[in-house]
């Protein structure tokens, strides 16, 4: 065992050992007596190996939004506002159109009221006329 260790150490100090051999060296050192300094040193390295920081969470892109999503959001917002604006505008236009139509209708109504006879009366008369016409025709045909 000791020879093995000696051999490995020589190789080690020459920088010729592989990782596997280095692992072996450390294992052997634990089994034998002697090699105190080497043992202590390599023990120190092993302790160093085990050091770890305290637990922490991986940063997540939680509050963050992909740039493209941001752009999409802005565009959507813009489109939404534009639509609202256009919709509002068209509603205004509709209201305006309605006002104008009602104004025209009022004008007609006012003047219609001036007539003493209602349109229905006139209509009745017109139907009367039509009836007369038909009657006349029939009458003619009958003849």
């Amino acid at each position: 065992m000791k020879e093995k260790i000696e051999a490995l150490l020589v190789k080690y100090y020459e920088g010729e050992t592989s990782l596997a051999e280095e692992r072996e060296l450390r294992k052997f050192l634990l089994k034998v007596s002697g090699f105190q300094e080497e043992k202590q040193f390599f023990l120190g390295l092993e302790v160093l190996k085990t050091l770890e920081p305290t637990e922490k969470a991986v940063p997540q892109a939680k509050g963050e939004v992909n740039l493209w999503l941001k752009i999409a959001a802005v565009i959507t917002l813009f489109l939404g506002l534009s639509w609202l604006f256009v919709d509002h505008q068209s509603k205004k236009e509709e209201a305006l159109a309605y006002a104008q139509v009602m104004e025209a209708f009022s004008l007609i109504q006012e003047n219609l009221k001036k007539g003493t006879t209602s349109l229905e009366a006139i209509q009745d008369m017109r139907y009367l006329n039509k009836a007369n016409e038909i009657f006349n025709i029939n009458h003619k045909e009958e003849q």
Binding site: A97, Y98, V101, M102, L107, E110, N111, L112, K114, L119
Partner: protein, 178 residues
């Protein structure tokens, strides 16, 4: 703007499938540029928009609103030419003389010492294609032409029903008072 309106007006009049009476066109265009007159043109699109407004603002159950909506749908357009501080009576006569009497039938006639009011219709296929209103007093004159495809019953809505939404608000008080 005036020129543009003029062009539009003319184009639409000429482009009208149901060709309006040439006389009326002439009559309108004669006073187009005249500053004493104001002109109103309500296009088919505007009629549509008015209908839209009505729909979104009047309850579905409102019968009168429904009738009004139906009437609006049947109207293609409205043109109004009116003047204040004009020779109303003279213009009235002029309008009457330029009309092609064959196409228009009298609907209503009201004469009193201060003003004349005349309603006429032009029929097509048993329905009214145009309602014409001419009023003239000492100082005022109005010529209104309403194109569309409606019946006398439709016109009834205007004559008798006064509770129409917005009707009161839009009363034009100044024009036809004696």
């Amino acid at each position: 703007m005036k020129k543009w309106l003029c062009v539009c007006f003319m184009t639409l009049m000429i482009g009208s499938v149901h060709a309006q009476d040439d006389a009326i066109v002439r009559f309108f265009s004669k006073y187009m540029e005249n500053e004493n007159f104001s002109r109103v043109y309500i296009s088919p699109k505007m009629m549509q928009m008015a209908g839209g407004f009505l729909k979104s603002n009047v309850e579905a159950g409102d019968a009168e609103g429904k009738d009004l909506g139906e009437l609006m749908q049947k109207i293609r357009g409205i043109r109004i030419l009116s003047g204040e501080k004009v020779n109303g009576k003279g213009l009235f006569q002029e309008a009457m003389s330029t009309l092609n009497k064959n196409k228009y039938e009298d609907l209503m006639d009201v004469h009193d010492k201060s003003s004349n009011v005349k309603f006429m219709v032009r029929e097509e296929n048993g329905r009214v294609a145009e309602l014409l209103m001419i009023t003239g007093s000492e100082t005022d004159f109005t010529l209104l032409s309403m194109l569309g495809n409606f019946t006398y019953q439709d016109l009834n809505i205007l004559a008798e029903k006064t509770n129409l939404p917005g009707m009161n608000e839009y009363q034009s008080g100044t024009k036809t008072t004696n």
